[in-house]
Subunit: 606 residues, 2 copies
Amino acid sequence: MSTTLEPATVLDAPSRAAADWLRQFDHALRTNDGAQAARLFEPAGFWRDLIAFTWNIKTLEGRDEITAMLDTTLPHIKPHDWRMSEPATEADGVVTAWFDFETAVARGKGLLRLRDGLCWTLLTTADELKGHEEKRGATRPLGAAHGVAPGRQSWRDRREAEAASLGVTTQPYVLIVGGGQGGLALGARLRNLDVPTLIVDAHPNAGDQWRRRYKSLCLHDPVWYDHMPYLPFPEHWPVFAPKDKIADWLEAYEKTMELACWHSTVCTKAHYDDDAQEWEVTVERGGSEITLRPKHLVLATGMSGLPNVPAYPGAESFTGEQHHSSKHPGGEAWRGRKAVVIGSNNSAHDICADLWENGADVTMVQRTSTLVARSDSLMELATGVLYSEQAVASGITTERADLIFASQPYRVMPDLQTPVFRAIRDRDAEFYARLEQSGFMLDFGDDESGLYMKYVRRGSGYYIDVGASELIANGSIKLKSRVGVEAIRERSVLLTDGTELPADLIVYATGYGSMNGWAARLISQEVADRVGKCWGLGSGTLKDPGPWEGELRNMWKPTRQDGLWFHGGNLHQSRHYSLYLALQLKARLEGISTPVYGLGEVHHLS
Amino acid sequence: MSTTLEPATVLDAPSRAAADWLRQFDHALRTNDGAQAARLFEPAGFWRDLIAFTWNIKTLEGRDEITAMLDTTLPHIKPHDWRMSEPATEADGVVTAWFDFETAVARGKGLLRLRDGLCWTLLTTADELKGHEEKRGATRPLGAAHGVAPGRQSWRDRREAEAASLGVTTQPYVLIVGGGQGGLALGARLRNLDVPTLIVDAHPNAGDQWRRRYKSLCLHDPVWYDHMPYLPFPEHWPVFAPKDKIADWLEAYEKTMELACWHSTVCTKAHYDDDAQEWEVTVERGGSEITLRPKHLVLATGMSGLPNVPAYPGAESFTGEQHHSSKHPGGEAWRGRKAVVIGSNNSAHDICADLWENGADVTMVQRTSTLVARSDSLMELATGVLYSEQAVASGITTERADLIFASQPYRVMPDLQTPVFRAIRDRDAEFYARLEQSGFMLDFGDDESGLYMKYVRRGSGYYIDVGASELIANGSIKLKSRVGVEAIRERSVLLTDGTELPADLIVYATGYGSMNGWAARLISQEVADRVGKCWGLGSGTLKDPGPWEGELRNMWKPTRQDGLWFHGGNLHQSRHYSLYLALQLKARLEGISTPVYGLGEVHHLS
């Protein structure tokens, strides 16, 4: 054994490869040589940056894009101190390494994948701003003010004083519209970063968004995927939480996290004052109109935007009950009566099953094909790899899982997802065959890449099966597929094939518009058009028109309207990306320079 | 290297010693040879058992007591499968080993300390009952009932149905009187063990016990010591939580843990029906009287029992305001007025400081000496060893800390605590000197063993300094010490040295009685006397008369009244011992035989 190497410093081969790469990378960055840094990537390599370099959420694809980004950002970002945070690993010819690094203003974490010594994928994320770290663990607040001070305020005094003043005599820096899981998660991050924030929500209590939905609703994603920031669900929490249990949790979360939230408060309009660089937002609270003047406005109104209700001829003449799926209260009132559910995705299935369980005669109208995946199979073969009891037991904490997931560039993801869904199709072949025999139109995505890709491309088009598919297969839920709706009549739905379905109830499970519909409603069509469509990648697949953008449009990152932000997504996205949105807002509050690289182009308005 | 030993099976010396001991111990137990097992202990060795062998909380001291216990319990307990759960360690001549084991009905955990091959201390605890394990982690409930079933209940339906029936048409198996941290912690354990439990509490909301106390109150123990079962405080939680923040947490906890709790409900009387083997408990709820018939009654009314107010002559003629410390609302109303606080322990100090901060002229009357320890010093030198950020970082989880702490027999504890408090006295010598110069009477316990021993012996006699001592030292809080109260006059307090203190307000910070005072009030004096004094060890020190009992009297374990249990203590005790009380109750619900070994004798009535 060499005398110059102590045993403690001997690195294994993957760690040596990763350490070598980081050293060369660091050297190129320190010498402001973007082209040299880019040559350390595969020609078509990827760099996904979550605000550390770009103050944006951005994937650079290939050496040219990487070089261009570095040439612009290196002078002010000043990255340094790259170091592996644990030994690297190697599998299937890919070396994977976790690392930490710093920029001029932030501490970051990242994940590197090497193939034959060149970088295939690089993830860089800002984790905290220097000098503005959250106070937790060893730096948590003392709480009790030890010592004595005449006239000091207690914790409750301070909470009450804030509640009396914020939005009244003082203005929040950030106003979040919407107090669902998204608004609360972001609110908690901002509270812990000392960013004065007010949340307004139309409902009387946190969690009411969930309480008001149909009774049988449960989360479709398993518990390990769903934790909120800071306060993980306890070990007894059910795998698929019922809606009212989630509602209670959100109510407790709001209180525990000390969020400032105005309930029963409706945001009616907002206008950006370019001179003052602030918003003028009108809200209705307790019968009176209040004007708020935040610097930043976050729409956390649900990533699905406003309900879509198709304008079918004759709908106004229908004498039964008709409503959008988001307004469906549950099937109790429909025993022995006829219901028609238009649509064939998650809500449509849940509502059909609920109506059937309650003794209604229910028909689903399937206009286009649907991706169906059994919940068990998804847990085992898809989410379970990163989010499951086994993953936790093997050391994949929620934070680690989130970073691993985030390290997969969207361009690469279909290649990673396609085999997963091929395995699901094999495993459940008999199930799919029976479902198709009922006439149900199945798909697995335009390119067979499965459910998650549909979710990020269009946010719709799938059903996570928790039982309704069996009811369709066995005819309990009647199915009309390969048809459209021609018209609504006085007490029936007329289909394009001439069938007339008698109906006491019509449920339009017809989806939602883009989130910028909220901007149109609250601000103006002009601003909605300026920021453009939200969500989707530009994949050129159904409902996600190109050109390719490589990241979700407008989500959690700067938009083309100053001070306007969109926050949303499922619980996992809401948890993870709220960190980066919160850091972007904190940096602006503190006057830290945040030059945005690669602000998205607007190609579509909705 | 020997060819018969594979490297993987080579144990280090401490592990070998512990494994050898466990093997011999196991052999003695399997052959029902209690005397042989006892010979593996030091002659004066200790065995502390938390319900695994004794269905009691019991410390056996010396070989004779160990032999006697084993001779009685071995035939039915059938302990087996002793195995080390991690490598043993050695320090200062003591080998320490963690182990798992099983009995006929339970799985257990324990901690062993060896000196020269013999057992110095052994801890055995039951951790779960076989076939009645809590459903958590990989066995957590599914939540959503996948598949469809006409007429099925949602989670909310079930919760509402339980709320409508429990205590009305169905009877709880366990009734907990008191919904503070103790009642809620036990309630959560019982919920997760599927033991039908109802909590009744006099206050409108969970946490009100805290909300109603004086405004400046904060926890005196640091956050790492205070976690509730199942739901640890988040990382941002302050070190010393303000009372209203704890109150909000308890309110959220009740909801998250799905506890059945009747608020604004007062328990007025209880009677044990020996024939039916159940309680008849009368509660007042919503203006009407309701009779409950639980099998078990748990008093979780605060380990301090009922307030003590000394009957000073003339008190009835006092024209100012006078109340016990537990009723003190805070000092706001007393600016510029004269207050006398009788007592010199925690509440007395907190209330004096609060009155002074609010501009009152305040005098503390110290009748007997007090142990004072600075909060910082306690954190660093006492609790911090097991409960601190550093402890967590070094792998001492809350569960591990609790077991280490529980493994120290009360007989040994003064020897372990005395050097800690000697170090505190050295460190803070200047502070103590200044305090004594003000006339303050200091002590460190009858045998100098410090604060925790005072706490377990008498539950009083100390102040954890968070600032009031400085106010006493510098004369801001006036002090009259070495005196008693002779009488109360119309507008003053007359002391035994003839001093007359003018007073607009008198606060009696004069402590609390034994918890069995609650049994006297709710059940009968006869039952209170039958179970006898609660708390204290029989140490023969002030307020803890002998004979030696070795465990806290009546706490978390069977009493001499069938079906009557006492639950309480600080947050740490409440968290840890609620496990054993819950398992005792679960075993009885399931008809598991629970022969109690060594039921406590009653030597004192209060």
